[in-house]
């Protein structure tokens, strides 16, 4: 069964460093998303991506964040200068009708 994959599963970084989180969505899906879940809190929407551009973003998704689909299969989330409060589990999802989520990347910013 097709699934969304994410790498790395865990990432530890120093505050101020750039991180790139990678996702491979399900191949025939058209809509792509990033969400995050701070420990013990709700899953929060960050950004949606359709037709090679951002379709919607939340107020969390500020200028420090960017997304790309560089090669038609990968979908990346970049955080330019990480802050302590960026520590969270980041989920990628893709959709035809149902959103399927990847296993997440646990990001820890020290």
């Amino acid at each position: 069964e097709p699934e969304v994959t994410q790498t790395p599963s865990h990432q530890v970084t120093q505050m101020g460093q750039e991180v790139i989180l990678r996702c491979v969505p399900i191949s025939n899906h058209l809509y792509f998303y990033w969400y995050r879940q701070i420990l013990g809190q709700k899953v929060e929407f960050l950004v949606s991506f359709y037709n090679n551009e951002i379709s919607e973003k939340s107020e969390i998704f500020d200028d420090q964040f960017s997304v790309e689909r560089p090669d038609g299969s990968n979908f990346t989330l970049k955080i330019r200068s990480t802050k302590l409060e960026d520590s969270a589990m980041y989920f990628c999802a893709s959709k035809w009708e149902t959103q399927y989520f990847g296993p997440g990347t646990r990001l820890l910013v020290l």
């Binding site: 998303y33 709700k42 899953v43 929407f45 379709s55 959709k95 959103q99 989520f101 296993p103």
Partner: protein
């Protein structure tokens, strides 16, 4: 803002019992989805119910949707220890073309053998 809110926050049951949890939301939706999350892990899709549907079944899961009350319920029948997890409802707003999901805070279910 539209959000799914689950009730109860936590549920502890014995194996073999049924578990029922509820979700309320605030605005019109296209669909409502239920997900399961084992501790610290990913979100596993359980079931999607469209706004024009009232009930759906998948194995031991039964989901109902009452759009007039803006609520949904998830019933897990004959629960097993492996059902121990957090369960989230997530709504896709009718006004949102891009389908982002808004999640509730979840119900933590513990099934003891």
């Amino acid at each position: 803002s539209q959000q799914g809110e689950e009730d109860p926050q936590a549920l502890s049951i014995q194996e073999g019992e049924n578990a029922t949890m509820n979700c309320s939301y605030k605005t019109s939706i296209n669909n409502l989805q239920w997900y399961r999350q084992n501790s610290g892990r990913g979100l596993v899709h359980l079931i999607l119910i469209r706004s024009n549907e009232r009930e759906k079944h998948s194995g031991r899961l039964r989901v109902t949707l009452d759009t007039s009350k803006k609520s949904s319920s998830l019933l897990i029948t004959a629960s097993r220890a492996a059902d121990t997890a957090s369960y989230f409802c997530a709504t896709a707003a009718a006004t949102d073309s891009w389908g982002k999901l808004q999640f509730g805070a979840g119900t933590q279910v513990v099934v003891t053998p």
